[in-house]
């Protein structure tokens, strides 16, 4: 026993955005422990927003001033490369916007431990109690989202997956209204999430057995060189895929998504629909391109089928929905399918991969902003008992509040991918990469699915503008400054990315140019 351990090297500057977010979360917990109750909210909101903004600034500074590193950081555990930095920036902005939404109105339960409908709950509501722990929990989730797409080995990926998911399981169950639904969503999300992470883990085990290592780079070199154990590799890759596809809600693992999106408090739904999707796609692309890149002949047909199924399921089932949040959830499933089209558009040439990757990155930005904006609008249309969730209640909204209905219609058109919206260029970038990657049939399915989805979006628009408002229709609450800012920002992003997408496209392209570090 020699008793000496070489101290590890950790590139703190490189990891600073993530460390800032985690650090702020821990400070938030301390605030929760020591600050008096009336001060907590006043401390949490600026702390959370400043830390996210600071992390964003650090990310920009890293990319612009210090250049993109070519080696994995923290003893090879975290790969801070071009795509990772781009994804970090996206997640941080989307999280910032979602936090504005969280602070906007009373979306969260006053006392989670009080039984719904009990005198205790009444009293908590009366006293204006609030769970300010939500802010540190959101920061932990965001920290996990930052780590997940940058994970350079499967152990970090697993830990990050859990760091991201555990706070979200909790936050799902904290809706202020329709609490039974919300708690049920939390249980479902939790059980299915734990089930899927078991699959992810078993896949990791088999790949470890195959390659003798959990580093994505070493797995990638083993794919070509280790013989006689292909079964381990195939089953391992498949199970890893199940775990990842579950997180992005691809069919046939999409069942949790509508339930959870419907039950969760709307700002949390916005965070999940934008941030989690971005993070999970970043991780999926990294695992499949870097770790299993040598196996692409085998996984491409499978993902091909999954992409088709996801697009079709998302587009077709959206038609039968009557709940606005469920409808947006199915739309999110369909968009996951469109993004998968980009994932399989790999090729031998690095340029092909870079164009597919930049398409995915651009799509994620465009979709993230639009979806946060759409959920922000959902929070503003209220009935007596909370949000007016039933679609029929939205009838005639255009006559009552043309501005809000117009904005929502604009978001729906962006989801459908109509030209002059960000959604159009997102789809265009991904489909173009897929066509040049030789996946023309898939693109055709994608276009047809978009058309089906567009039919439904247009139906909602018609409902809003061309039918008579109900006499006791929902009221439009005057948005708080935070919510108004979110909607404004989302509209701005959707317009700018739809009219003048070039700067962001260039940025995505230059981020994707270096591809992933290995």
């Amino acid at each position: 026993m020699n008793g000496t351990i070489q101290a590890p090297t950790i590139e703190y500057a490189l990891l600073a955005p993530m460390l800032v977010v985690f650090g702020a979360a821990i400070v938030g917990v301390l605030v929760e422990a020591f600050a008096p109750r009336y001060l907590r909210s006043a401390i949490h909101v600026p702390l959370t927003l400043l830390s996210l903004a600071g992390a964003f600034a650090l990310t920009i500074w890293q990319a612009a001033a210090k250049g993109i590193p070519t080696k994995a950081a923290a003893m090879g555990a975290v790969a801070v490369d071009g795509p990772a930095l781009f994804i970090w920036g996206t997640i941080l902005v989307l999280a910032f916007v979602s936090v504005l939404l969280i602070k906007g109105e009373d979306h969260f339960v006053a006392a989670a431990s009080a039984v719904p409908g009990s005198a205790e709950e009444e009293q908590a509501l009366h006293e204006g109690a609030a769970h300010s722990e939500i802010y540190p929990l959101v920061l932990f989730a965001v920290g996990g989202m930052l780590l997940f797409p940058a994970a350079n080995d499967l152990l970090v990926a697993f830990v990050a997956l859990e760091v991201m998911s555990l706070p979200l399981y909790l936050l799902c169950g904290l809706a202020r209204r329709r609490r039974l639904l919300s708690q049920e969503a939390a249980v479902k999300y939790f059980l299915l999430g734990a089930f899927s992470s078991a699959f992810f883990l078993y896949g990791t085990a088999l790949l470890y057995g195959y390659a003798g290592s959990i580093d994505l780079a070493k797995i990638s070199t083993a794919v070509g060189s280790v013989g006689g154990q292909d079964t381990l590799l195939y089953i391992g890759a498949a199970m890893l895929g199940v775990g990842l596809l579950f997180k992005i809600g691809a069919a046939p693992f999409q069942a949790w998504k509508p339930d959870v999106y419907q039950g969760a408090p709307t700002p949390i739904t916005a965070l999940m629909a934008s941030g989690t999707l971005v993070a999970a796609f970043g991780a999926l692309v990294r695992v499949f391109w870097v770790g299993l890149g040598g196996l692409d002949w085998d996984w491409r047909p499978v993902l091909y089928g999954v992409a088709i199924l996801t697009m079709v399921v998302g587009a077709v089932l959206a038609i039968t929905q009557t709940d606005i949040k469920r409808m947006l959830a199915y739309s999110s499933i369909a968009h996951g399918g469109f993004l998968l089209v980009g994932v399989i558009a790999t090729g031998k040439a690095a340029a092909q991969n870079a164009s597919a990757l930049s398409g995915i990155l651009f799509y994620l930005v465009a979709y993230g902003f639009t979806t946060v904006g759409a959920f922000a609008v959902v929070t503003m249309v209220r009935d007596a008992g909370g949000e007016a969730w039933h679609l029929s209640r939205w009838a005639g909204l255009g006559k009552r509040s043309p501005l809000l209905a117009g904005i929502f219609a604009f978001f729906l058109l962006a989801f459908a991918g109509i030209p002059l919206t960000s959604g159009f260029f997102g789809k265009y970038a991904v489909f173009q990469a897929a066509v040049s990657g030789g996946a023309l049939p898939l693109v055709i399915v994608g276009v047809v699915a978009s058309a089906v989805a567009a039919f439904f979006y247009v139906r909602v628009i018609v409902l809003m503008f061309f039918s008579d408002p109900a006499a006791d229709g929902p009221s439009i609450v005057l948005p708080s400054r935070g919510t108004a800012a979110v909607v404004g920002l989302a509209v701005l992003a959707t317009v700018v990315l739809g009219v003048y997408p070039q700067p962001v496209l260039d940025l995505a392209h230059s981020a994707a140019q270096s591809l992933f570090v290995r």
């Binding site: 989670a112 431990s113 039984v115 719904p116 152990l155 697993f158 830990v159 859990e162 555990l166 399981y169 909790l170 169950g173 609490r179 039974l180 639904l181 708690q183 049920e184 969503a185 939390a186 249980v187 479902k188 939790f190 059980l191 734990a194 089930f195 078991a198 883990l201 078993y202 990791t204 085990a205 088999l206 470890y208 057995g209 003798g212 290592s213 959990i214 509508p258 339930d259 419907q262 039950g263 039968t320």
Partner: protein
């Protein structure tokens, strides 16, 4: 011998998976998930010896930490819903449908 251990771990994993699908009690479903995680750990430990490096044992250690945190969150959520409904059956939780 490695193969034997792996087949045992696969069996346990599959049994856990069946349990998740057939049981109704949320707590038992969650126990089945824990069984699956244990099966993963057995595979990791076996592969560590097979490959001659300790990475597998390290991962198994991490899985235990993660599982402990997960159990806390999961049981807290289950207890909350139980207090509301006086039932831990996943069937009674059926407000969310299509």
């Amino acid at each position: 011998m490695t193969t034997h251990y792996l087949v045992l771990s696969a069996l346990l994993f599959a049994i856990g998976g069946v349990g998740v699908l057939v049981r109704r009690n949320a707590i038992v479903v969650f126990m089945c998930v824990e069984l699956m995680l244990n099966a993963c750990n057995l595979a990791f430990v076996t592969f560590a010896r097979q490959n001659g490096n300790l990475d597998g044992q390290v991962i198994a250690f991490f899985v235990m930490i993660v599982a402990a945190a997960e159990v806390v969150i999961g049981l807290a959520i289950i207890v909350t819903i139980f207090r509301t409904r006086r039932s831990a059956s996943v069937d009674d939780a059926s407000l969310l449908k299509y």
